[in-house]
Amino acid sequence: MKLAYWMYMGPAHIGTLRIVSSFKNMHALMHAPLGDDYFNVMNSMLERERDFTPVTTSVVNRHVLAQGSQDRVLNNIRRKDREENPDLIVVTPTCTSSILQEDLKNFIERASISTSSNVLLADVNHYRINEFQAVDKTLQQIVEYFCNSETIIDVQKTEQPSINLIGFVALGFHSTHDYQELQRLLKALNIQINVILPEKCTVEQLKTLPKAWFNIVPYREVGLMTAKYLEKNWGMPYVSTIPLGLVETGKWVKNIESVLNDSPFCKEKVNFTSFVQKQTFFISQAAWFSRSIDCQNLTGKRAVVFGDATHASTITKVLAREMGIFVACAGTYCIHDNLWFTEQIQGFCDEIIITNDHAQICEMIERIDPTAIFGTQMERHVGKRLNIPCGVISSPVHIQNFSLGYRPFLGYEGTNQIADIVYNSFTLGMEDHLLEIFGGHDTKMTLTSQSNTGISWDSESQEELNHIPGFVRKKVQTNTERYAKALGLNIITLETFYSAKEDLEAQRS
């Protein structure tokens, strides 16, 4: 048993439901007790989904415990088949069914005889895998089900270069904006998109996956298993670079270029070098931002980064490599992918943390005391408590990160968005200088020359204090008085005043 207050990743069935509900005309039937259909609430609230979430529950109650649920599951499959007529019903086990150990596979075989829908059992064990692993696994399972040598006999590659874009899934972090951005980019490269998977994808489209020349998997968490399956069984190469940040997006385009040119279907070699250069230098504002004097002031500022493997690794690289920010610690909660993560950010940060215990992250942030945090919803709250600004760069997130406006993280527009988030998270330049000089933020209290600390100011030091701009005067007064008190002084002279300032600066550096 583990004492837990908060978790970064959901249970496995959430991953399966995210995949199934992303497809068009598929239905998930959970084998779960009443109240476990909380996914429907999240989908309906966070995504502001207009349609009914295609997830129902075959309810496990006392009767099921007593006599097993076979008829119930069978009837519920048949009922969904009749009512909604989906192309596929995915029976989804939960923590409850993992313990009950009923032969769900057998029920499904029996049900599929009498249904026009296809029926599949999601191969996800609650106690073995997490939400992200289930996302990856279920997607691969569905692709394999509809896209194997028995279901597809003849494969005609498309005339023009084309790709499948894999990994856009319900409740994904800025996922809908990301795929619009990549669609735009690929169009500019004259590459057709064969299928976007799984968002709004149909079974008919699934059967055309091998028509594409190759696959693109922009997120580390979704689609790698599918890409590997398609590579092994259909000889399709894939690009798994994450197009986040200028350098990585450039690499992504160049990787696409080399896969295209290596393709046996390639009639005319392509060269995207000038495209990358033009986008980097002039279309995206991020390279120019890095060069501008605004960004200069960020040099060496301390930040910490925490999130899923995709976002935490790439944001760390952007901060360190493209903006000159010192990443004191970077980490991920994707423990299952820690080797890849560690390898990715080697050399871009001072310290690496791999954990899914939020208390540990909290301690790390308190210890490092960074100028800004880039993390999840959880770190945002830690930042609030510690008074450190936080840019949200990864799920888990709340509804405010399902923005209505266009906010991709990937591609060239993504680099602009990230630059804004980073810059706005740090205190702005001039304000920062003033705070540095005067030792802190203004408090609204007006100055009382004789404060209740029992410490008085002589006329010289009082005059000097009055020269301090009003908005930081109180802060300076408090700091100086605290310093004097520590030394056991009752009267503040000019000398005390100056040495207090020096002492404060010494502490800061």
Binding site: L34, D51, T57, T96
Partner: protein, 443 residues
């Protein structure tokens, strides 16, 4: 009167409906019982639900946590006793609560973890009371979670001998149900006007102040989902239940006070006038709601009381979906519902226990109610199809009891009407594409 036609009919469907898991009760109970700690013994699924359902509250250093079961716990490689003792020691050390509640879940039921057996042993070792409540989704829905906790809490009340007075009868009153402190104070105030001897509430703000019971204690519930608590107090502690409608709406509040006064042989003077006054102040809302139809999909057991009040407000209730009805515990409420329908000359609405959301959506499409009270899973899709909805969960988390909160109920109910009036004029009514309309038609 033709009783066969007008008696209340109950239907029962498949039970395939959306509701919150009963463990959600920790979210309001840990705040109500200030010296408590709630330990939910379950899986990641439970934790994920609590974390998402409770939103920002999770960050305020809550006095609740998950004892997350791992594979070793399920396969009994770890010893439940040692594991729970370790966690409770940790809680005692860091939080020092006066009481620890163990919330049993589906998983502890299925693996038959003997929480009731383990609790007394660990309680003796760590010297902190441990109360076990099985608030799981196998047996209960949403607010019934509070019922299981309060029933377990009621067991801890001491029964003390009655002080013999002149007649040898010395009845007093215990009210049960968790309400925000200002609401319970207000209800207490209403009763003290008629000199009702209130002994206390279950729960109290602190566990240490749990009231004593006597063999003369009368009890009365403030919420319709507390039947197990009532049963426990009656059967295990010898209390007598005052059957009353629930103090929701001015009609319910009056009925509640009247029933209590009657039990104490007191005539509540001025009560009828008080009710009339409240109705008068509600006039602007009543004008807006009169003749409008309403459909309760059912998920929190407040449905009968709310439907009764809204019928009295002049609304037409099409369907009352409800997870579960204890007809004995809700007898007075059901009677008042019938009286209200007769008084307003409307038929008694269809009451559907364990509803089926899919079938309900079909009925919604046929009846096209002006307002649908539903859960968050269905609210947005229904709005997109032009139906006005109100989240049912808001009734659980708002102050709806007593005379002065009647206004708040109507504020909630009428909000979608007030909100959507402008939008309908703009033509923003149905916001799904044709293709989806077909799905609706199919549904």
């Amino acid at each position: 009167m033709n009783s066969s036609k007008t008696s209340i009919q109950f239907e029962c469907e498949t039970g395939n409906y959306h509701t919150f898991c009963p463990i959600s009760c920790v979210s309001w109970l840990y705040q109500k019982i200030e010296d408590s700690f709630f330990l939910v013994i379950g899986t990641k699924t439970c934790g994920y639900f609590l974390q998402n359902a409770l939103g920002v509250m999770i960050f305020a250093e809550p006095r609740y946590a998950m004892a997350e079961l791992e594979e070793g716990d399920i396969s009994a490689q770890f010893n439940d006793y040692n594991e729970l003792k370790r966690l409770c020691h940790q809680i005692k050390k860091t939080r020092n609560p006066s009481v620890i509640f163990w919330i049993g879940t589906c998983t502890t039921e299925i693996i038959k973890m003997d929480l009731e057996g383990l609790a007394p042993k660990i309680e003796a070792e760590i010297k902190c009371p441990i109360i076990v409540a099985r608030a799981n989704g196998l047996d209960y829905a949403f607010t019934q979670g509070e019922d299981t906790v309060l029933a377990a809490l009621a067991q801890r009340c001491n029964v003390v001998p009655t002080k013999e007075e002149i007649s040898g009868i010395n009845p007093n009153l215990i009210l049960f149900g968790s309400l925000p402190t200002n609401v319970s104070k207000m209800l207490t105030y209403e009763l003290t006007k008629y000199e009702i001897p209130i002994q206390g509430w279950i729960p109290t703000a602190t566990y240490r102040d749990l009231p004593d019971l006597t063999d003369q204690t009368l009890i009365c519930g403030v919420n319709p989902f507390l039947n197990r608590t009532a049963t426990t107090l009656m059967r295990r502690k010898g209390c007598k239940l005052i059957s009353a409608p629930f103090p929701i709406g001015p009609d319910g509040t009056r009925g509640w006070i009247e029933a209590i006064c009657e039990a104490f042989n007191i005539v509540p003077k001025g009560l009828v006038e008080r009710e009339k006054q409240i109705w008068k102040s509600l006039a602007p809302y009543l004008a807006l709601l009169k003749g409008k139809s309403i459909f309760f999909m059912g998920d929190n057991l407040l449905e009968i009381s709310l439907a009764r009040f809204l019928t009295r407000c002049g609304m037409l209730v099409i369907e009352i979906g409800i997870p579960y009805i204890d007809k004995k515990y809700q007898a007075a409420e059901l009677k008042l519902l019938k009286q209200t329908c007769d008084f307003m000359s409307v038929p008694i609405p269809r009451i559907v226990e364990k509803p089926d959301n899919f079938h309900q959506i079909q009925r919604l499409n046929e009846s096209k109610p002006d307002i649908t009270i539903t859960g968050m899973a269905l609210a947005n899709p229904l709005e997109a199809r032009g139906l006005n909805t109100k989240w049912s969960v808001e009734f659980t988390f708002s102050q709806i009891h007593g005379f002065s909160n009647a206004r708040d109920i109507l504020e909630l109910v009428s909000r979608p009407l007030r909100r959507n009036e402008n939008l309908t004029q703009l033509g923003w009514f149905k916001l799904v594409k044709d293709q989806n309309d077909q799905t609706v038609a199919k549904v």
